[in-house]
């Protein structure tokens, strides 16, 4: 808010978010409590079974899953950090001028090489061909 002192504006805008958070949490809580009061409860064993197309499930769903998820999560971390670094760079880009462009170019180039490497290695394939053959 341009009229107010910067510190006050900063505080109020953050406190507004806090207020908003409280309202949302309150809304969810009120809903769930109200629901708890009025919902019926007719217990039966059958209802509690896990849904698996009408058959009784074999084994738990909590198993070790494919390594691909982990690889993609790692990739995400790396490139998300890239994005986080790029954002402040973008804000001050004009103030710094051509030097910023050069720096950004180098930074992005390094990451692009990394992406190309991962691509080449086949880690961007969701189903790798060697996985399929196994």
């Amino acid at each position: 808010m341009p009229s107010a002192a910067p510190s006050a504006s900063y505080l109020t805008s953050h406190s507004a978010i806090l207020a908003f958070l409280l309202v949302v949490v309150g809304f969810v809580a009120v809903n769930l409590v109200l629901w708890k009061i009025i919902r019926p409860s007719r217990f039966s064993e059958e209802k509690l079974t896990t849904y698996e197309c009408g058959e009784n499930p074999t084994g738990s769903a909590w198993i070790q899953f494919n390594i691909r998820f982990y690889v993609f999560a790692l990739l995400f971390i790396i490139f998300d950090v890239e994005a986080v670094f790029l954002l402040p760079w973008a804000v001050v880009f004009r103030e710094i001028g051509p030097l910023a462009f050069l720096e950004g170019l180098v930074f992005i180039a390094i990451l692009a090489i990394a992406l190309a490497y991962v691509w080449r290695k086949g880690d961007l394939e969701w189903v790798r061909t060697e996985d399929r053959q196994v």
Binding site: I17, T50, A61, A83, V127
Partner: protein, 346 residues
């Protein structure tokens, strides 16, 4: 009345702002709730019209009371938590989903500085970036907790999908931050003001970024053609297979609010927010809602038109097309700004 205004004048500026904030939060939250209910109705009606059906038309005039009827119905449904589930995580996931969904919309401006925004953060974009990644926790929690194989696969799918596309989403913003020179969303909106009306908007100036944003945003909110986490025919209902009654309603609410959020953010960042499309017409919050409505319609329209991707195709598209395009566009923008090309100067 005069007593109240006297009282108001007597308050300190900080207290005044506090009360304004409370009022804004209350109003905006209720508007969002209404919008969410209306969206469930509008989506069903619009899809129905695209498919030669009628859609809900019995509850109230033209069926507009359908969302309320649905809400009441869901209140009267019993709670079912599968016996193999992790109770606490299962119960927490919908709440987390709703809170995360609502929070990101706090920084979107509906009109000029002042009343039409909950919080005009200096770091609006960073805030969006941070909050939007919270949603995936809810889905992973929901998918894992139920101890059901379909929810598990749905949860894993959505985790991988959401972080893949979040990256493209974040990168699509870099160019326009460069042009606006600020993280504040209000500044980004005003940066799109110019003599040419809608030609100054970032959806024109930053066209490739706009396309990347639209695609990545559709994927972020799990809408067709990226609705794989809940791909009905493969995974039954994906991560929310085991949810029923209010918890199901909360998950649905989170989905719709997410859709509203990405449409609102897209409106502000790329479609000039509350600016008028033609140079002669006045700027007004009304414009915001018009553009916002168009984006929401776009999402529904997509659903009425397209089949969904296969999982590996989706991942490939995110990593091999969207991320490189977004990155390249950042460099192009940087180059154009450095060279001082018209339209890329403030």
């Amino acid at each position: 009345m005069s007593g109240l205004s006297d009282h108001w004048a007597g308050l300190s500026p900080v207290a005044q702002q506090f009360w304004i904030a409370v009022l804004k939060v209350a109003v905006i939250f209720n508007v969002l709730l209404g919008l969410f209910s209306f969206m469930t109705y509008a989506e069903r009606r619009l899809l129905a019209f695209m498919q030669f059906r009628l859609g809900p038309n019995r509850t109230g005039p033209f069926g507009v009371l359908q969302p309320i009827a649905d809400g009441i119905k869901l209140f009267f449904k019993e709670e079912v938590i599968p016996e193999g589930a992790n109770r606490w995580v299962f119960v927490a996931a919908p709440a987390v989903a709703v809170v995360a969904a609502f929070l990101s919309i706090a920084v979107v401006p509906y009109g000029g500085p002042g009343l039409f925004q909950i919080a005009d953060l200096e770091v609006g974009i960073l805030y969006l970036f941070a909050i939007s990644s919270l949603g995936v926790y809810a889905i992973v929690m929901a998918g894992w907790a139920a101890n059901n194989k379909f929810t598990m696969l749905g949860g894993l799918r959505s985790a991988a999908q959401m972080f893949s596309y979040e990256l493209a989403l974040g990168l699509s913003w870099v160019g326009l931050i460069m042009l606006a020179g600020s993280f504040r969303i209000q500044d980004i909106v005003t940066a799109q003001k110019g003599g040419l009306g809608l030609l100054n908007w970032f959806c024109v100036v930053q066209f490739p970024a706009f396309i990347v944003y639209l695609i990545a945003a559709t994927a972020e909110v799990n809408r067709t053609p990226f609705d794989l986490p809940e791909a009905e025919t493969e995974l039954v209902a994906g991560f929310h297979t085991e949810y029923s009654s209010m918890r199901f309603a909360l998950l649905q609410m989170a989905e719709y609010v997410n859709m509203i959020t990405v449409a609102a953010v897209g409106t502000s960042l790329f479609l000039g927010g509350w600016l008028s499309p033609l140079p002669l017409l006045p700027d007004s919050p009304l414009w915001f809602f018009v553009k916002f409505g168009l984006l929401l319609f776009f999402f529904i329209w997509l659903r009425g038109t397209l089949p969904r991707f296969r999982y590996d195709q989706l991942m490939h598209f995110g990593w091999k097309v969207l991320v490189p395009v977004a990155t390249l566009w950042i460099l192009v923008t940087a180059g154009l700004v450095t060279a001082g090309v018209p339209g890329f100067r403030r």
